[in-house]
Symmetry: C2
Subunit: 200 residues, 2 copies
């Protein structure tokens, strides 16, 4: 199986180069030639593996969605209390952020391209809704386990999700302005605290 190996290799190199370039310079600015050059691959190879430039983009987006699901699944296995679990997630984001802050930039590309490509739009909307569902489920569990006190879990989940998205957005736009990873942790812990019953 040497052929499939080689094939997968070039395919993943194209994807990696595209992700890098999309994140750093944006989708439209990045030409197919640029991707091919960065991946050390010819244009023929590119169009052998992908039918179009856009298909690479949606492949990347779907990979993100899959990764997201993996994260969700992993987060739900632990037996921690909800506030602790949220803190752990925030810490995870913080770590990833410090290792590869540029990684998040492509999110903005996904969002921006939503207006032009219906398929991208579907995926981004789905992404948001999954997050919303995840947080709501999480908060509900916190309520039922007694670690949280929330009147309207739907609204509260919206608040948490919005805060996270807003923080992410600011981190992408102004990476040097703040330690957004740390800020994410503090904001989330503040939110968790305010949702954990009255003030003793």
């Amino acid at each position: 199986m040497k052929q499939e190996e080689r094939s997968q290799e070039t395919r993943s190199r194209i994807l990696a180069a595209a992700e890098q370039s999309f994140a750093e310079h944006g989708y439209d600015v990045t030409s197919v030639d640029t991707i091919c050059h960065a991946a050390g691959v010819s244009k023929g190879a590119f169009y052998h593996h992908f039918p179009s430039k856009g298909s690479v983009f949606v492949a990347l987006l779907n990979a993100w969605l899959a990764e997201l699901d993996r994260q969700f699944a992993a987060a739900q296995t632990g037996g921690e209390s909800v506030p602790r679990q949220v803190a752990a997630m925030a810490a995870g984001v913080n770590e990833i952020y410090h290792v590869a802050g540029t990684k998040w930039n492509i999110l903005l590309e996904f969002w921006a391209k939503s207006k032009a490509d219906p398929e991208v739009a579907r995926s981004t909307v789905e992404m948001i809704r999954r997050y919303q569902g995840f947080f709501q489920q999480l908060l509900d569990r916190g309520v039922s386990e007694g670690s949280l006190r929330v009147e309207n879990s739907n609204l509260a989940a919206t608040l948490v999700l919005s805060a996270v998205l807003g923080l992410l957005l600011q981190g992408i736009l102004d990476p040097e302005g703040q330690d957004w990873g740390a800020l994410m942790q503090r904001v989330l812990s503040m939110l968790m605290e305010s949702m954990s019953g009255g003030k003793p």
Copy 2:
């Protein structure tokens, strides 16, 4: 002064057409010819008033910044209590949102283009920081007037700003999914309530 009038007229028509098209289809997809056609203006006129396509974009961005300052100034003149003032602002956003939801789309374009254009980046960062400063100042006023109780106004302002940005983002990405204007009001009122001291 008939000549300057005419000049301003075409200039503003170009700006309006560009804003519309940028918001609806995106910056890169919108060609100069498209803008000219939509504005009912020739390419010569376009390049008479603007040195480049990009300059129209930053002109639009600066107009947004100026409008933002106007809103801030207007918001600070009223003698309302801070929670009420926030509610009024949310109501204002809600109203604008229902009248012209598409209007906000261009924000995403501004953000997405930050990575490619340093000038755009400066402006968007400034935009965010002004918002942050505004909210922090607002919360501080709330504390000093006794209507709010906040431990760390900086962090709290970050939370409010993040929530607003996240809600805005979701509204742009999934306009049909929720009544984001109404949600903005509810989330902000929820935040204000949680910041208004203990629970009586």
